[in-house]
Assembly symmetry: C2
Homo-oligomer: 324 residues x 2
């Protein structure tokens, strides 16, 4: 199989490249503009003949069309990784989330690439509180530009699949953690504690509780769901509606920000760190304080996360502490 | 009140301008790039001191910011009016639907305009078949770029309302019909019959059945819902989630394409017109053949359409026949 990965030098994209290249039959092309991706993440493959790197921006549709040609399957990971930044630069997620996704699926259409997977997120459910949202949940009311861009991108992918006989696997992930993260709570806490071992600033009241999934579990879930549906799923006929397969993916449990802060302090080998809360139940405007995903659909398919939220966070803190 | 209307020379926008200017206290600014809007629609107001026309494109954010300044309320109607065109020009709805809506709400944010209404559509529900979709319905899986752009735009509006203390009234309309239409089934049939009185080409199998609402009812529903919520609705506090009010708006019943075809023939004063079907249950890829909106929310508020689907279609055909 010939795979094409957007954001392929990033956290998730490079992890997927690693995994795919374990299979000798696979070829992998990675595109990245290195705005947050890192050469170090893909260095191991640079001399592999089965690996190709394109340094370029997927907002350049002409370049993207040429690059995507003659691939079998696209993993679209590229996005704005800094959710809170969307509060200041309100067009970031519009460009890097919605317009970029349009470019990917439009390039696939004109170049005849039929199958893709997209990393969406729990943010599309908005602030649903303690409700365990399943894939059919409504209303969908994202409260950040990040969430809005994920829903907008999903909609565009779905419309293309219907109109142009394409197939898409959409994964609404819990917070993915692990080595190579360049953003997110673990990365943030480790960095802050390194700069100031006496005091840790915590956004919100620390009581936010969300679900975390370890990166290898997230990668495995994608490949598992794609494999399961690959032959079952036929391309669209004009008379049917939509070959889009949507899955919530998480570890099933949750953990509080305060707990993660205590684990980060422990991992950093510190003691008596003062926690300074910014206050309010949200970390920032657009932050969803409580996330509960209903995982029934993917669990029934036979997939289960290897690590729970606590284990995923612990592993992630350890690796990021090493990288710091 | 000082109102700002995007697409203000179009079918809906100009009808809203007419209605608002009936109240002597109102001032109305209209922006339109006249891609489908018409000067004839707003001609009556050009000498009214309470009316201001800006010929310009809302994709020009700088121009839009300047134009939107010092208004109290924004009606955002501007969009691509030709749904099927999105199959050929796949970026039309992305630009005219999603990017344009981002520009409107971003201009409101930077210029301090807090309240807006948006004309969304039943297309966001995708192909839900005979299910009467209410405003909380899920999953939302649009099957056209038009539908995807409406959902993307709603999401962006919702995110802004949450992040920046704004309020939005979102109306998911059934098919709106009436004088001044430049697209849509009535316009299409009248035009076709004028060009060829012997044969009428019908997209699909003619059995599509949807709900239609007369334009004055649609305008009235918007003003009614805005008025009802205006004082009740407080601006967002950081700790709450979303001041976005979503309403389905329609006439409650439905009518088939075949029935509309027969009425169009009758209205054109013709007989023995042959119907030529393109076949298939959809008019085109992305056409939703069956639309059923649950109107409970707005009915409970006390609003009801004056005209049912049949009456709305009849009135519309009569007026478009006159305009033809």
């Amino acid at each position: 199989m010939k795979y094409f990965i957007t954001g392929g030098a990033g956290f998730l994209g490079s992890s997927m490249a690693d995994r795919l290249l374990q299979d000798k039959k696979n070829l992998v092309t990675v595109i990245d503009n290195f705005s947050s991706g890192k050469m170090a993440h893909i260095k191991a493959h640079l001399n592999d003949k089965r690996f190709k790197l394109i340094e370029g921006d997927i907002l350049n549709l002409k370049l993207l069309k040429k690059a995507i040609r003659r691939h079998d399957f696209v993993f679209h990971f590229s996005a704005n990784p800094d959710i809170a930044k969307g509060l200041i630069h309100t067009d970031l997620d519009l460009k890097l989330g919605i317009s970029a996704t349009y470019n990917v699926i439009e390039a696939m259409r004109t170049e005849g690439v039929k199958d893709m997977a997209y990393s969406s997120g729990s943010g599309i459910y908005g602030d649903a509180g303690l409700i365990k949202t399943n894939e059919d949940f409504g209303p969908l009311l994202p409260i950040s530009m990040y969430g809005a861009s994920k829903l907008g991108a999903e909609s565009i992918i779905g419309a293309f699949c219907h109109m142009f006989d394409m197939r898409a696997w959409i994964f609404r992930f819990a917070n993915i953690v692990g080595a190579r993260q360049t953003h997110g709570i673990c990365f943030d806490f480790i960095k802050k504690l390194k700069n100031n071992p006496d005091k840790l600033k915590i956004a919100g009241d620390g009581k936010q509780s969300k679900s975390y999934i370890y990166v290898s579990d997230a990668i495995q879930a994608m490949l598992f769901a794609i494999e399961k549906y690959k032959n079952k799923a036929t391309y669209l006929k004009k008379e049917t509606s939509g070959n889009v397969f949507i899955f919530n993916v998480g570890s099933g449990d949750h953990i509080s920000v305060n707990k993660i802060a205590r684990l980060a302090v422990q991992e950093a080998g510190l003691k008596d760190v003062k926690f300074a809360y910014s206050g309010g139940k949200r970390g920032w405007r657009g932050d969803v304080p409580v996330v509960r995903l209903d995982l029934t659909k993917i669990l029934r398919l036979g997939w289960k996360a290897k690590y729970n939220s606590l284990e995923a966070i612990k592993l992630s803190l350890r690796e990021l502490q090493k990288e710091a």
